[in-house]
C-alpha cells in the first residue's frame, strides 16, 4: 500500500508561472477553494525570465493599433494554423488584462504623458509591448504572486505531480510527491488546470531551466487528452553561444527592438539578403529606414532583424552553416553601433537593457555598450501542447483545463514575441474562470485506489531497480537532449527523425532500468527519473508530429519539403494515446467566420 496525505480542493492548478497564478487568482475570485502546486519555489517560474514585454493593443504609442491588427499579426505570425478563436479573444482581452495588472500593483514604463509605454517587437506591426525595462516577467509574476497571497490561495511549493487521477472520463485530481521529504500526496479536485510551461529540456541548447520537462503535456496525454501542434517548437534566434556553460541562455529580442543589428563574420548585415514575400511590404529595404523605425518613426518600416523568430533563426543557421559565423559558432548581434546615431548611447543601452548589460558583463566579460555579442538559436518555446477549447480552455478530458505554454492553439506555427505574456494573462484568467464554473456545476469526484497504487509504484521503481544493467537518469536525459537537438532541431529530415523515433524507443526501454541512489528526501536524481517519462513522451510527440507535416511552416522547417503546402496548411496534427501507442491524426481547422477572414484580408493591404 502506498502511503500518502490527502488535500481537497475545488480547483487544482498545476504550475505557478504567470498562467497558473492568474488561473488560481481567477478561480479563487469565483469562490472556488484553490490549491496551487509548483515544482520549484514560488516566483522562480520561467515567466520571471521574460524580458521584452507583454503584447496588448493599447495604442498608447501608435494610435493606429487595435485588436484587429493584433489579431491579424498573430495569425500571420502563426502561418494561419492558429486556433482563430483564441487569437481573437487574446487580441481583444489583452489590454484589459494589462490594465488590471496595474490596478493590482504592477508599474509599466511610462510615455511622457504618463501612459503605459509600448515597444517594437518582431512581427508586431506597431509598438505594442508594455514593458518594465527588460524585467517585465519579474514585475508580472511578483504582482500576481503578491495578489495571490492576498486571495488566500493554498500554495504547495516544491511539489511535483506524478500523474493525473481520473474518475471515469472526468479528471479527479493528481498524485504528487513533495521534493523536501519525498512523501506522496493525493490532491483531489473537481477541476484541474495545467499551466506547467514548456518542454525545453528535451533539447541540449535551451533557454529553459530544469523544470521544463513537458510534465503537463505528458500527464494530460496519459490521461487521454489530445496534444496538438507539437511539431512547432520555437527556436529563439538569439541565445548566448559563449561561454559554453551558459550556452542557450536568452538574449532578448528587445535588443533588436532598440536598434540592435545582426552581422556575420565579414561585418555584413545579412538579414537584408532574405526577406519573405509576405512580409516584404512591411519591411525596410535599407538600413536608414530600419533605424528610423526603431526610433519611433511611424512612416518607417521595420528592420529585417525584427522579422518573425523562425525566419531570423533560419537565416542565422544559414550564415553559420555556410562558414560566415562568429568565432564561437554564432553570429554577431550589435547594439553598440547606435553610438554613431545617438549621444549618450552607452547610458541609453544600460537604461533600456539593464539585464542584458549585466548578463554579458557577468557571464561573458563583454561590455555590450562597446562590442557586439555572439548569439545563436536556442530552444525556447513550445507552440503546441494540450488541445483546448478556445473559450473555456478545457481539454478533451472533462474537467481538465490548460493555459499558457502548455496549451496549444494561440500561436499556431510560430509565436510572436510578447504574445506569451499576454497569453498567460488572457487564458490563465479564462482557464481559472471556467475551471471554477466546472467545479461548481459538477459533483464531487471519486478516487480510484488502483490508479494511485500504479503511480506510486511507478515513482518508486528506481529505488528497487536491481536488474544488473541499471542506468543513470542523467545519462538518459543527456543522450535524449543531444540527439533531439541533432535530429529534430531547427532543420528536419525524414530519415533523421526516423532515427530519433528509434532512439526514443530504445531510451524508453532503458528508462525502465533507471536506478537512483540515496533516500527519498530531496533527491534530484530520483526527481529526474520521474521526469524522464515526460521528456520521452513529449519528444516522441514532437517527432511524430514533425514527421507527418511534410511541408515547412513557421518554426517547423523540413529540408526535404522546404516549401509550404496549402493543403497541409488546413490541418492541425493531433496526437492521442491508444492501446497501440501514440496515434497521429490530421484534423482539419475549424472554418473561420467571415468577419475574421475579412480582418485578415484588410490587414494584408
Amino acid at each position: 500500500m502506498v502511503q500518502y496525505d490527502t488535500h481537497e480542493h475545488d480547483v487544482l492548478v498545476i504550475g505557478a508561472g504567470g498562467a497558473g497564478l492568474r488561473a488560481a487568482i481567477e478561480a479563487s475570485a469565483q469562490g472556488a477553494k484553490v490549491g496551487l502546486v509548483c515544482k520549484s519555489l514560488l516566483g522562480k517560474a520561467h515567466t520571471v525570465m521574460a524580458e521584452g514585454g507583454v503584447a496588448a493593443a493599447l495604442a498608447n504609442v501608435d494610435d493606429r493599433d487595435n485588436w484587429k491588427v493584433h489579431f491579424a499579426d498573430t495569425m500571420r505570425g502563426g502561418q494561419y494554423v492558429n486556433n482563430w478563436r483564441m487569437a481573437e479573444l487574446h487580441a481583444k482581452e489583452a489590454p484589459d488584462r494589462v490594465r488590471e495588472l496595474e490596478a493590482w500593483g504592477a508599474v509599466f514604463d511610462r510615455t511622457k504623458d504618463g501612459r503605459i509605454l509600448q515597444r517594437n517587437f518582431g512581427g508586431h506591426r506597431y509598438p505594442r509591448l508594455a514593458h518594465v525595462g527588460d524585467r517585465t516577467g519579474l514585475e508580472m509574476i511578483r504582482t500576481l504572486q503578491d495578489y495571490g497571497i492576498h486571495k488566500g490561495i493554498d500554495v504547495f511549493m516544491e511539489f511535483t505531480i506524478i500523474g493525473l487521477i481520473k474518475d471515469g472520463a472526468r479528471v479527479a485530481g493528481a498524485f504528487a510527491y513533495d521534493r523536501e521529504r519525498g512523501l506522496f500526496h493525493l490532491f483531489t479536485a473537481r477541476a484541474v488546470v495545467i499551466a506547467t510551461g514548456g518542454i525545453g529540456r528535451a533539447y541540449k541548447i535551451t533557454s529553459n531551466s530544469w523544470e521544463y520537462t513537458g510534465d503537463g503535456q505528458a500527464m494530460a496525454y496519459d490521461a487521454g487528452a489530445d496534444l496538438m501542434d507539437m511539431e512547432f517548437v520555437q527556436f529563439h534566434p538569439t541565445g548566448m553561444v559563449w561561454p559554453l556553460s551558459v550556452a542557450g541562455i536568452l538574449v532578448t529580442e528587445g535588443v533588436r527592438g532598440e536598434g540592435g543589428i545582426l552581422k556575420n563574420k565579414d561585418g555584413h548585415r545579412f538579414m537584408f539578403d532574405d526577406i519573405p514575400e509576405n512580409y516584404r511590404q512591411q519591411t525596410a529595404d535599407n538600413e536608414e529606414e530600419g533605424w528610423r523605425y526603431c526610433q519611433g518613426d511611424k512612416n518607417a518600416r521595420r528592420p529585417p532583424e525584427l522579422l518573425t523568430r523562425d525566419h531570423v533563426a533560419r537565416c542565422i543557421v544559414r550564415e553559420i552553416k555556410e562558414g560566415r559565423g562568429s568565432p564561437h559558432g554564432g553570429v554577431f548581434l550589435d547594439i553598440a553601433w547606435i553610438k554613431k546615431k545617438i549621444p549618450n548611447a552607452e547610458e541609453h543601452i544600460k537604461r533600456k537593457l539593464p539585464s542584458m548589460y549585466h548578463q554579458f558583463l557577468k557571464l561573458a566579460d563583454i561590455d555590450i555598450t562597446k562590442v557586439p555579442m555572439e548569439v545563436g538559436p536556442t530552444t525556447h518555446y513550445m507552440m503546441g501542447g494540450i488541445r483546448v477549447d478556445g473559450d473555456s480552455q478545457m481539454s478533451t478530458v472533462p474537467g481538465l483545463f490548460a493555459a499558457g505554454e502548455s496549451a496549444a492553439g494561440l500561436h499556431g506555427a510560430n509565436r510572436l514575441g510578447g504574445n506569451s505574456l499576454s497569453d498567460l494573462l488572457v487564458f490563465g484568467k479564462r482557464a481559472g474562470e471556467y475551471a471554477a464554473k466546472f467545479a461548481k456545476e459538477n459533483g464531487p469526484v471519486a478516487v480510484d485506489q488502483r490508479q494511485i497504487e500504479e503511480l506510486g509504484r511507478r515513482a518508486l521503481a528506481p529505488f528497487e531497480e536491481n536488474s544488473g544493467n541499471h542506468e543513470s537518469p542523467y545519462q538518459i536525459q543527456k543522450e535524449l537532449q543531444t540527439r533531439m537537438q541533432e535530429l529534430v532541431g531547427i532543420v528536419r529530415r525524414e530519415d533523421e527523425m526516423n532515427q530519433a523515433l528509434e532512439l526514443i524507443g530504445e531510451l524508453k526501454e532503458r528508462a525502465k532500468h533507471v536506478r537512483v541512489e540515496g533516500n527519498r528526501m530531496y533527491n534530484a536524481g530520483w526527481h529526474l527519473s520521474i521526469d524522464l517519462h515526460n521528456l520521452l513522451t513529449v519528444s516522441e510527440a514532437i517527432t511524430r508530429a514533425a514527421l507527418v507535416r511534410k511541408e515547412s511552416r513557421g518554426a517547423h522547417f523540413r529540408d526535404d519539403y522546404p516549401n509550404k503546402d496549402n493543403t497541409l496548411g488546413g490541418f492541425n496534427v493531433v496526437l492521442r494515446k491508444s492501446t497501440e501507442g501514440m496515434k497521429v491524426s490530421m484534423e482539419p481547422l475549424r472554418e473561420m467566420p467571415a468577419e475574421l477572414k475579412q480582418i485578415i484580408e484588410e490587414q494584408q493591404k
Partner: protein, 320 residues
Amino acid sequence: MQANFSVYRKEPGAGSKAGRSTYTVELPEDATVIDALLKIRDEQDPTLGFRGSCLHGYCGDCTVRINGKAGFSCAVKVAPLAAKGGEIAVEPIRNMPVIKDLISDWDTFLWDKIDVIKPWLEPNGAASLDGEELIDDKVMAKVRQAMSCFYCGLCDEGCTVLPVDFKFVGPAALTKASRFLCDPRDHATAERLRILERPKGMWDCVHCFEASEHCPREIAPTERIIEMRDMAFKHGITNEKVARHHHSFANSVRNSGWLDEGRLAIESEGLTNIKGLMKLLPTAAKAVARGKAPIPFLHHKRPGADKIARIIEKAEAKEK
C-alpha cells in the same frame, strides 16, 4: 582546469549531523560554481542537494556561501578560486535553517515573514480597468527599484540582527513593505506602518547597512528601513520603544540643551509600561549607590540651551 571542493552536507531531519564531502572535478576554464555542483551531482554523487533554476542570475534560487562569501553559484567563476589552491568551500547561506546540504528552508525564512507585512496594493481607487492611471515615471522610480527584488535572500543572509533574533522580520520583507509604502497609489500607509511598528518589525533593525551592502540589485534595504521609520514619525505612529527613545532624546535636547538620561530611560520604556520600568530598577539602584543616578527632576537647562533649541527648530523647518 581541475578544482577541489569541500561541500557542506546534512541529511534532512532534526537529529542529523552536519559534515562535509570533498570532490575533485575537471571543468572548462569559464565554469561557474553551479557548473561544478551539477557536474558533481551528475557524475560523482547523485545525492548532493542544492537549488538552482535559471543558471544566469535572474532567479536568485542558487544563493550559497562560497569561501565564506555569499553569492549566486551561477555567477561565481571557479578559475580564480581554484588558482588560489586548496579546497573551495561551499556552504548554505546563513540565517536560514538547512533542509538538506545546500538547500535552505525559505518558508520560515522569507515567506512567513512576507505574509506578515501585507504584501499587496490597497489601491486608492484611481486605478481601474476601464482606463489606465496616468503615472509619472519619475515618481515610480523607487517602487520600480524595489520591484526588481527577486528574493535571492542575500540581504537577509547579511543581516546582523537575524543571528541574534530569528523572529526579526528581516530586510527582505521590509523591502517588500517599502515597495508599497512608496507607491503613491496605495492608501494603506498608516495601517502598514502600524504592522511594521510591532515587535520584531522595522524598529529592530540596527542599521548596520549589511543588507544594502549585500543587495545585488542596489535596492538599498537599510536606507528604505530608515525612510519608513521617518514615515512613521510623520504619521505620528511612534508607540514603540525605539520610537519613544528617539522622541525623548530629541525633546530632551530641545528643552534643556542636553540629554536627560533618567527621563530618556523612563520615557523609552513608556510611562505606563510597569514591567519595563521595573526592569530599570536594579540599574537605577546600582547607580544611586555609586552616586551616579541621573535624577530627572534634578536635570537642569545647560547654558546656551536656547541657541540649541533654535538650531533644532531651523532643522525641522527645513525638513518640512
